[in-house]
């Protein structure tokens, strides 16, 4: 039994310590916003925050998350009003949308670190997240927009 703190809630997961965090989130806690895409930290669909840093939950054992704060897309904001989420909706970034939870978690972590990221910052922070629908141009624009929203006093 391992205790995790996910989206501010203490959760107990009955699993082996090397179970990838992704599956504890999806199958035990039923938080299905975080996706499986590759299982090898190659696509970023499984990105969550561990103590605020973006990690690939598909290769992170739950033992490594014990006692730390895990944030998933469901916990990024209560009402879907994080500036990154607002910008995503405003610019209609998603197409199929399957990768977007991971994209948004990576983008939110970037903005937490850097209030005004440049295109180069975005490339570095977001290159680990594949989007097969090809929404990259809108992701870039939406991150700039989210930065502006955040500065405008958004929650």
């Amino acid at each position: 039994m391992i205790t995790l703190v996910v989206n501010g809630k203490q959760q107990r997961v009955d699993a082996v310590p090397d179970l990838p965090l992704l599956w504890a989130i999806r199958e035990d806690l039923r938080l299905t916003g975080t996706k499986y895409g590759c299982g090898m930290a190659l696509c970023g669909a499984c990105t969550v925050h561990l103590d605020g840093s973006p990690i690939r939950s598909c290769v992170t054992p739950i033992s490594a998350a014990a006692g730390k704060k895990v944030t998933t897309i469901e916990g990024l904001s209560a009402q879907g009003t994080h500036p990154v989420q607002r910008a995503w909706v405003e610019l209609d970034v998603p197409q199929c949308g399957f990768c977007q939870s991971g994209q948004i978690m990576s983008a939110a972590a970037l903005l937490a670190q850097k209030a005004t990221p440049t295109d180069a910052d975005i490339d570095t922070a977001m290159a680990g997240n594949i989007c097969r629908c090809g929404t990259y141009q809108r992701i870039r624009a939406a991150i700039h927009r989210a930065a502006a929203l955040k500065k405008g006093g958004a929650r």
Partner: protein
């Protein structure tokens, strides 16, 4: 507004559509063929829409939402003709029920070929127009005024003379009692309220919050999770024997069962099922495909290209024109197998009981999912409920039903609901690949450099041929020659042949299908002719498109917007290409550069698109942006190779995808031709690879005739 296919609706195993919606497109008098009682207080003129007493409009979208925006586009079309209030609309995804929801052109509930808008628009408009006419009549009756004295505004009927208004919700009961008009009057384009405007996608909020339910996210009470150990070969492999002792010893593994596509390990969670797979000892009968490797495919294709193929098109007399002398140009082009790589690996969930079967699946093919499940379970199709979830990408891959077979067989075998999931490795190694082909060209040019003869022979498998779906006595697979047979250039002597060579590698529909590779091949070769003639590639094409005005118009628009004719920014080359596919015309100009090590950088993609009518222009742009990335990924990286029948690629490290740091600027210009609607999911792909390779030729003088682009060949000496 709710556009969410909620989990609860999914789990009900059906569609809570208020029932009684059997009135079809033919707009039968209500009741004919009805199998359910009408719901009181709900106006249900047909299967596409209903309105309740609160004025909430429920629209049923039959086209799976795979990213192309069908949920929104369908709604725009129906809401516009209905004059619905955009804020009082809910969308449901249609179940498998071909009698009600089939595509009126294909007659099936299989969705590919960029057919969402172009095949359904007229039907949806008529269905909504009939409803609007009934609401107007209901209001006119209520007021005792002639129907032509009333009009509609979003969600209300207005009496013009007095300004009196009745909301649609207030007219539900009266409208429900009226006959359904057979030939309702449609709006004229100047009356459109939503069509042609940039409306937000209805699914953006759920996709920005993780709430959207994809196939992988389905939860059914008592559900187990399964994964199938598949043969090492891409097709034809069979289980000879297996030992599941070690797999069954793993805590959490519940069942191990043999199914058509391998050995299913059924467990309490996905990683356990995968661990169970690894513990299996399977002896495989690998079958004949184990003899097949990529090098052999290439060399046999090349050898066969000397033999005549089936004639797909013959204008004039190519042989005679070639014999007449003048300059000839020859070339050979080759393209590899490609996998779709949907972000969501294949999966489906099924529950089989003696009385029925329920399938939850991210499928482009609810119709065949239903008949497939019926065949496996022995149930009649109407006892099989298919719930289409959101699709994490489709691109043609999800028109197949192999993953439905997996889920239904496994669920049937274990007697519990099963979510059957593929790993990424399964997905890449057991796909339905875009066909690898080999192409030979010969052309003759006149004294002015213009082509007098064009001869093109394609060697490779045919998708329809392999699937046994060639119609009648057709000898040429239309999917194999799409984009080649319909070459738009005005060349008096033209012959296109196809030689069917199938090594047994499963082939399938890959975003834009034949046009995806044939546009690369033909648009590169016509570029070769332009350069051989010493002419500008844009002007050369333009001159040959005199009889193809829509091709020419997008070509001209792309060229103008890209600044064709001016010098490209320093260090960059510019290339152009044009193609028709799936009812739309697209032209691209691409600017690219090459680093000293040969690495290609794409800077700018200018796209001109004529899709007839642009229902949601911002989403037209989104599809062009996505098509550019899909086409560039294929050109730069895409390659599936075989070694002894096994696919050598397995995950994104060796089957790479374009990433954000490689993303060019994509500019899209929509040409409003006022023609009938064309497709959009696919037409943005075909011109991309040739425009890029033509740009690289302009820059380096090196002609790329084999994809993917080999950067070592572009390296500066």
């Amino acid at each position: 507004m709710s556009a969410v296919l909620g989990r609860r609706a999914l789990l009900k195993g059906g569609v809570a559509l208020g029932a009684g919606l059997t009135v079809g497109f033919r707009l039968f008098p209500r009741g004919r063929g009805a199998t359910h009682a009408q719901t009181p207080g709900v106006f249900t003129p047909n299967q596409w829409l209903s309105i309740d007493r609160d004025g909430l409009v429920t629209i049923t979208n039959s086209v799976p939402e795979m990213g192309q925006g069908s949920m929104t586009t369908t709604t725009i079309i129906i809401a516009d003709e209905l004059d619905a209030d955009w804020k009082k609309i809910r969308v449901n995804q249609a179940p498998a029920d071909p009698k009600r929801y089939a595509n009126p052109i294909t007659g099936s509930q299989s969705y590919g070929g960029s057919r969402g808008v172009r095949d359904h628009m007229e039907m949806w408009r008529k269905s909504a127009a009939a409803a609007r006419q009934m609401l107007k009549q209901a209001a006119a009756d209520e007021w005792g005024v002639p129907v032509d004295s009333v009009d509609t505004e979003p969600g209300v009927v207005v009496h013009r003379a007095t300004g009196r208004k009745l909301a649609y919700g207030q007219l539900v009961d009266r409208a429900q009692a009226l006959p359904v008009p057979q030939s309702p009057k449609l709006k004229t384009p100047d009356q459109f309220r939503y069509i042609g405007k940039n409306l937000h996608r209805l699914d953006s909020p759920e996709k920005a919050t993780g709430r959207g339910i994809y196939g992988m996210d389905v939860q059914v009470p008592g559900m187990l999770v399964a994964s199938i150990e598949r043969p090492p070969v891409v097709s034809g492999g069979k289980v000879q024997s297996f030992d599941a002792t070690a797999a069954k010893a793993i805590r959490g593994v519940k069942h191990v069962v043999q199914v058509t596509n391998g050995i299913a390990v059924v467990a309490d969670r996905f990683p356990t099922a995968v661990a169970g797979r690894r513990a299996l000892k399977v002896t495989w009968d690998l079958g004949p495909v184990a003899q097949v490797s990529s090098a052999q495919i290439s060399s046999e294709y090349a050898k066969l290209s000397g033999q005549p193929g089936q004639v797909a098109r013959k204008d004039g007399d190519v042989e005679k024109a070639m014999a007449a002398g003048g300059r000839t140009v020859e070339a050979a082009y080759e393209v590899p197998f490609l996998e779709h790589a949907c972000m969501e690996p294949m999966n489906a969930t099924a529950q089989v009981t003696p009385d029925g079967c329920v399938v939850w699946a991210p499928t482009q093919n609810p119709g065949s999912s239903q008949t497939t499940a019926a065949r496996i379970t022995g149930l009649p199709p109407e006892k099989v409920t298919v719930n289409t979830t959101l699709l994490g990408g489709g691109f043609g891959r999800r028109g197949e039903t192999d993953f439905i077979v997996d889920a239904v067989e496994t669920a049937k075998a274990v007697g519990a609901p099963v979510k059957l999931m593929w790993t990424r490795e399964d997905d890449i190694q057991h796909g339905f690949y875009r066909p690898a082909t080999y192409n030979v060209f010969r052309a003759a040019l006149d004294a002015g450099g213009m082509p007098t003869a064009w001869w093109h022979r394609i060697v490779g498998p045919g998708i329809l041929a392999q699937k046994g779906r060639m119609s009648g006595n057709t000898t040429v697979d239309p999917a194999a020659v799409a984009g080649a047979r319909d070459l738009p250039y005005d060349i008096p002597n033209l012959q296109v042949e196809w030689l069917n060579k199938d090594f047994g590698v499963p082939v399938g529909y890959w975003r834009s299908v034949g046009s995806s590779q044939n546009a690369f091949i033909t648009e590169s070769f016509v570029d070769e002719l332009a350069h051989a003639a010493g002419k500008d590639p844009f002007e050369y094409r333009r001159a040959l498109l005199a009889k193809s005005p829509r091709h020419r118009a997008v070509l001209e628009l792309a060229a103008r917007r890209a600044g064709w004719g001016s010098a490209p920014p320093k260090g960059r080359g510019r290339g152009i290409a044009v193609a028709f596919s799936y009812g739309s015309y697209a032209a691209h100009v691409i600017e690219a550069s090459v680093a000293a090590d040969g690495a290609v950088r794409v800077h700018r993609v200018v796209c001109a698109i004529d899709c007839g009518i642009a229902v949601n222009p911002d989403q037209v742009k989104a599809q062009m942006e996505g098509g550019a990335v899909y086409g560039l990924t294929a050109a730069l990286y895409g390659q599936i190779t075989l070694d002894h029948g096994a696919v050598q690629q397995s995950n994104f490290h060796n089957y790479p995808m374009m990433r954000i740091n490689e993303m060019p600027v994509v500019e899209t210009y929509i040409l409003d031709s006022g023609e009938a609607p064309g497709g959009l999911g696919e037409p943005g792909v075909p011109p991309v690879a040739p425009a890029l390779c033509n740009a690289l030729f302009a820059l380096t003088g090196k002609r790329i005739r084999t994809l993917p682009i080999r950067t070592e060949e572009l390296r500066k000496a």
